[in-house]
């Protein structure tokens, strides 16, 4: 596949929009509130809000997220509420219902329970955990009312290109473009297990790990990160050098996943590079220095996700 040169692609297509993904970690209430106060002034078009990982994390309730959302909406942001990645209990279903009942913001559905509440009634965003790997399945979700889909992190550039090329109807395509990758979810809490605690009595230890708890191999390779019931990559997935290719595969939105430090700079680097203000090579060097761990981009290349292939320099 030929993706053309960067400047040509930037000139030709509609602007790629930036989204801030849902906060995947458990931060203290005040940290969350001050984080989103800053977000109001960041150059992102869309902000996804809400707890998606663990129902025991209750520093913020739905009404708090709605308050944050209203403030962001007043600043011109599109606000989306994201549902749990894993639904287990009646309490999870009740929260899901409250989320669907509110009419201020659209909803990102992250499991079929959420889809069942929204399908045929309210337009929604098909989240990255719905396992849409081909155009036929995407068509099904679009018929249910999905107006945007977030590609599963395993989908490579060529796979996304094949799906968008085969999709005759209009639907927005969002790609996970920056951050530690959410790779797996479990009933077991690994952070609690590390502390010899059970999930039901976890003492909220996730509060101690604002970017997750690092899992290294016995020969010192950063490998994974435990985030409660979720397991993430230790490597930081980064598609900043791939903007031309992202346009070529007809992505419309790029998801940047929050990290505890330097997130404002991360967003700025993406926004200014998209706008053509920053030199992409320079911006990528700056970005790499802000990451909590080494970069990776293997999934985008159709390789093991952990690998990193450096782009030939774009001058």
């Amino acid at each position: 596949m030929h993706f053309g040169c960067l400047s040509q692609a930037l000139a030709m297509s509609a602007p790629l929009k930036l989204t801030l993904g849902p906060l995947l970690y458990f931060w203290p209430r005040d940290s969350v509130l001050s984080f989103y106060k800053e977000v109001a002034n960041w150059p992102v078009d869309t902000v996804y809000l809400g707890e998606t990982v663990c129902s025991r994390r209750r520093e913020l309730r739905l009404k708090d997220w709605i308050t944050i959302g209203e403030a962001l909406q007043a600043m011109g942001k599109e606000v989306v509420l994201s549902t749990f990645e894993l639904i287990e209990t009646d309490a999870d279903l009740r929260l899901l219902q409250s989320l669907v009942n509110q009419s201020l913001f659209r909803v990102e559905a992250n499991d079929m329970s959420a889809v069942s509440r929204l399908a045929g009634r309210i337009p929604f965003i098909a989240g990255p955990f719905l396992n849409i790997y081909n155009s036929d399945t995407l068509a099904f979700f679009a018929e249910q009312g999905a107006t945007r889909w977030v590609a599963n992190v395993e989908l490579a550039r060529d796979g996304i290109a094949a799906i968008t090329a085969e999709t005759p109807f209009s639907i927005e395509t969002e790609v996970f473009a920056y951050g530690r990758l959410p790779l797996a979810v479990s009933a077991r809490c690994f952070t609690a297990r590390y502390h010899n605690l059970t999930k039901d009595h976890c003492e909220f230890r996730c509060l101690n790990y604002p970017d997750g708890l690092l899992v290294e191999t016995q020969d010192d390779q950063s490998f994974l990160v435990m985030n409660g019931v979720q397991t993430q990559s230790a490597g930081v997935h980064n598609l900043l050098p791939e903007l031309a290719e992202l346009r070529a595969v007809e992505a419309t939105h790029l998801r940047l996943s929050p990290q505890s430090r330097h997130m404002a700079e991360v967003v700025t680097l993406f926004a200014q590079t998209l706008a053509g203000t920053f030199n992409p090579t320079w911006a990528n060097q700056e970005l790499t220095a802000l990451m909590p761990d080494a970069p990776c981009n293997g999934y985008w290349m159709g390789k093991p996700g952990i690998t990193y292939t450096e782009k030939e320099r774009v001058l």
Partner: protein, 345 residues
């Protein structure tokens, strides 16, 4: 016998025993030992045990189905991976093939494949695969309303009381895992394998694929690597297990341990009576990648246990010889109740 006991379970409430078959000999021993259903896959990435030397071609599948039907057993064909962007039509072809060879049901995860099967083969029974990650009655009922699924396999993340609530609120038959390799992550929601190797159950039908494994001896002991990533190191007195990524020994803040799970097998023999009482329709045995000897041993034990549980539910107890037989073939020779038992979490 069941008919003689006043407490015997009515036949409609008896749980079916669903056994794995990676090969025709495995299918035959499963049927001979009393499996009600045997599940298997084609030799390609349309099923979640896409390993070299396993699975069925049209000839062996026809022979297997004929053998099973002669003895009153049913054959379920697993088409339970996610169709990939460039070749998703292969999954449609596999559905047609399953219908043509006379499968009693197909086990499917993907919504697109379910929709195709339901439209094209309205008489073909559909089972929602565990890879479909449906953990609530609402999710299961969604599949029921859209595709008319007959049965759903619950992911191994739910505790017993949660499974009971699901069963009470769906018209769909519920199948649960009884024995075998234990998935720590929600099935259909785990990309750890592709992160290290480029291939995962969702994309290629296999976790921690054999071709990505490397064994090497170092001064620190025998090492297993997956896609180059060090999964475990074994001392001379340790049995080196298959390097499944989530059963590796890694380091967290200086502590080397199994951060995700020890090498154990799920075994729910102890829970059989409550599972039957709450209305579970079928018990699944994992292990299409295992030998006919494994299938034979497991099927024999579980057939005896299910018969005992159906005939005398009030007096059901786990016999030591069953546990001994299962321990011989369990991963790491250890068993767990997994997520069915809350403290596991």
């Amino acid at each position: 016998m069941a008919a003689l006991s006043p407490q015997a379970t009515p036949s409609s409430a008896r749980m079916r025993l669903v056994c794995p078959a990676g090969t025709l000999p495995a299918l035959k021993v499963a049927v001979d030992e009393g499996a009600d259903d045997v599940y298997l896959g084609f030799k390609d990435q349309t099923n979640a045990r896409n390993f070299a030397g396993l699975n069925f071609n049209d000839a062996t599948i026809r022979e297997g189905i004929a053998y099973a039907h002669r003895k009153g057993a049913q054959v379920l064909i697993a088409l339970n991976t996610y169709p990939q962007p460039h070749n998703w039509r292969n999954w449609r072809a596999a559905v047609d093939r399953a219908a043509e060879v006379g499968a009693d049901a197909i086990i499917v995860a993907d919504a697109g494949v379910l929709r195709y099967a339901c439209k094209t083969h309205p008489n073909l029974r559909l089972h929602l695969s565990v890879q479909g990650s449906a953990t609530s009655h609402e999710a299961i009922n969604f599949y029921y309303e859209h595709f008319g699924i007959h049965r759903a396999v619950l992911p191994r993340v739910l505790a017993v009381e949660q499974a009971e609530k699901v069963i009470a609120r769906t018209p769909v038959e519920i199948e649960v895992f009884g024995f075998g390799s234990l998935s720590i992550m929600v099935e259909g929601r785990c990309a750890l394998s592709s992160y290290a190797t480029g291939e995962s159950p969702n994309t290629h039908g296999g976790c921690s694929p054999a071709k990505a494994i490397r064994w090497q001896t170092s001064s620190a002991g025998m090492e297993s690597r997956l896609g180059g990533v060090l999964i475990d190191r074994f001392a001379d007195n340790e049995h080196p297990g298959y390097p499944t990524l989530c059963r590796g020994r890694f380091r967290v803040n200086g502590d080397v341990y199994y951060p995700f799970e020890e090498p154990t097998s799920l075994n729910t023999l102890e829970l059989l009576q409550p599972l039957q009482a709450m209305g579970v329709k079928a018990i699944k045995i994992e292990g299409r990648q295992r030998s006919p000897a494994y299938v034979e041993a497991v099927t024999r034990v579980w057939r005896a246990a299910l018969n005992h549980c159906a005939a005398e539910p009030q007096h059901y107890h786990v016999k030591p010889e069953w546990q001994n037989a299962l321990a011989q073939i369990s991963e790491g020779h250890q068993c767990t109740l997994g997520a069915y038992h809350r403290p596991w979490r």
